[in-house]
Symmetry: C2
Subunit: 422 residues, 2 copies
Amino acid sequence: MDAKVTVKEYMQRLGQQARVASRMLARASTDEKNTALQAMADAIRTQAGSLLKANNTDMTAGKQNGLDAALLDRLELNVERIEAMALGMEQIAALPDPIGEISDMKYQPSGIQVGKMRVPLGVIGIIYESRPNVTADAAALCLKSGNAAILRGGSEAAHSNQAIAECIRTGLKKAGLPETVVQVIETTDRAAVGELITMQDYVDVIVPRGGKGLIERVSAEARVPVIKHLHGICHTYIDDKADKEKAINVAFNAKTQRYGTCNTMETLLVHQAIASDVLPELARMYQEKAVELRGCGATQKLLVGIHAATAEDWDTEYLAPILSIRIVDDLDMAMDHIHEHSSGHTEVIITEDVGRARRFLAEVDSSSVMLNASSRFADGFEYGLGAEIGISTDKIHARGPVGLAGLTSQKYIVVGDGHIRT
Amino acid sequence: MDAKVTVKEYMQRLGQQARVASRMLARASTDEKNTALQAMADAIRTQAGSLLKANNTDMTAGKQNGLDAALLDRLELNVERIEAMALGMEQIAALPDPIGEISDMKYQPSGIQVGKMRVPLGVIGIIYESRPNVTADAAALCLKSGNAAILRGGSEAAHSNQAIAECIRTGLKKAGLPETVVQVIETTDRAAVGELITMQDYVDVIVPRGGKGLIERVSAEARVPVIKHLHGICHTYIDDKADKEKAINVAFNAKTQRYGTCNTMETLLVHQAIASDVLPELARMYQEKAVELRGCGATQKLLVGIHAATAEDWDTEYLAPILSIRIVDDLDMAMDHIHEHSSGHTEVIITEDVGRARRFLAEVDSSSVMLNASSRFADGFEYGLGAEIGISTDKIHARGPVGLAGLTSQKYIVVGDGHIRT
């Protein structure tokens, strides 16, 4: 970034360039886009040395600035992680091109044919935190879906991100696409984010990826539409008509398969008629994994010695080996609890009763609703999307895991043969 | 509205009531919704007398306040218009229920089945101007799509809208649905709109219907997502490979079938190689209809005596018998003109050349793109949607004519049999 221009001028220029590039990219063939993705992957492999060097600069600064171990781990690039970035790009190249897909083409009574064609959104702004691999992932997903991208990574990863950006530009150049298809913001000035999320003329959608603080700030200040999820307070309800073995397996997996993910169960709801059949066994399994249990009064009577769940617990995303448990009277009470405390991410019912399953699937208003399966499945790869840019708990546009199609729009196409309206 | 509560308190109460009602409505069966729609239509017919009386109060006040003839015409209810409202509700009752539709259900490698279920958005706020029939239309579309509605009509139609609201409540009551499923704002205080468009906790989407001024104000101040189109600057491009008869018929129809609609052609682009074959005949036809022509330099040479089109003309939605005409070198120049001046509503190419048609349909970035058909077809009824709440030129969520599906969202549903993630 030229020292003489203001952040606003700099961002406006990036926006204008992205808009022009997006129009060229929208016309690019599937082959051109895949060629660019492969050339980007190749460049990441051949420039692994400079990536490691740039990352070393970030890591050294991070240690000096006292970043904690978890943050440093996210920041770190190594040979495996670099290969994973290149592989990720090749996987996205191998996915079907969503752009240009025509669907629902039907004759109307007037004789015209009306259908829909999938097209790019235009320019996508992505704001993320310390992981530099997001630079590669996000660039590849935007490119494949025909969108120009403006990327803003964490300042602690600035050197790593610029080195990855260099590989991306190499790939774009090789495919004959403009280098401005993917732009990584050079300044670490926070004002750049403020500009990015309010440039309605140049940016069509913002995807913030990171902690709750980042996402709340972006959502509150954005004038451009935002695809986001704030947090994941996921529930599993064990119905009294559940198969006990399935209930125990799924509830155990949903909490313990990984603790730090947004689709991990945070609250277990259990029908009062089955509680004494499943909870003691589940408690033993959780405690073996050192999961702290916090329960309602009825749960505390059944599982003597566990902590009481406070009002706050029901609204907390622990992202840790902690689980709150509530015994409920029936399905309605379970759904009322979910309605009141869920973050709209993923909810699960365990039951063998078709009527209860049907009601839960229809009535629970979350981005994913599951029957007899672990909430940990709520993921773009597990859903067959091939990749994901994130998960949306909004109802507008994309909902649930967002893959390539979530970064597109559909326009109407009409084919006539000289048809006029009478 | 109780005189003791502030507008903010009043609107918050409406929002809370709508949220509660939306949850009950989301569970309503297709039969319950259709019963309510039929009962609403019946009430409109049986209460025609009180509708006419309430409308008379508005009309008298409108005349006293000096409303112009066009506005008074829009405001007026008569026996035919009342019957049309009732019929519209019956037509919406006859449409398939979009809610609960499950699509794309597929097995994944893990063994889970993943698909999507169509669900309501929740609470929809609709802001409109003088036509009271919008109260009936909007209520019916929201109800059928499972959404609670908060409606805000023009203050000049306040008595008419409240009388229609009374019919709606009668219908809801007969079907056993809460009366708060459809709420018509009682206060004419403009601050109510400001509250409605910023109540993110209670309103999921805003649909403004009316003039550009209203829509610009709503868009600028809204914190809730907005489904809208600002204006319609629609283009028709006559390619040199066009069939002359089709070109003339379509270009004539696109301008003259109706002047005041958003899908009316405002600018005609003609390839230089075909201009002298089609423009003189078209000019004669337009002039017979008293359409004022404004042309670029080359057009003025061909059609002697017409006015020059100024820079402003290319960016103007006339909504009147005026047409700007530009002769272009080729398809690229036509698409560049469209890219620069279009409002993203509807653009048409007239050609018999498959390659040019393919490029135009793929590359032009508007909500509807047409081949050999009049732009006047850009309409929810003509597209087979059965009804429309409006047209969106945004790329996020709904694009083009918005029918029942545009007022819904899709959540993921996952069905397993005790599946866990490994």
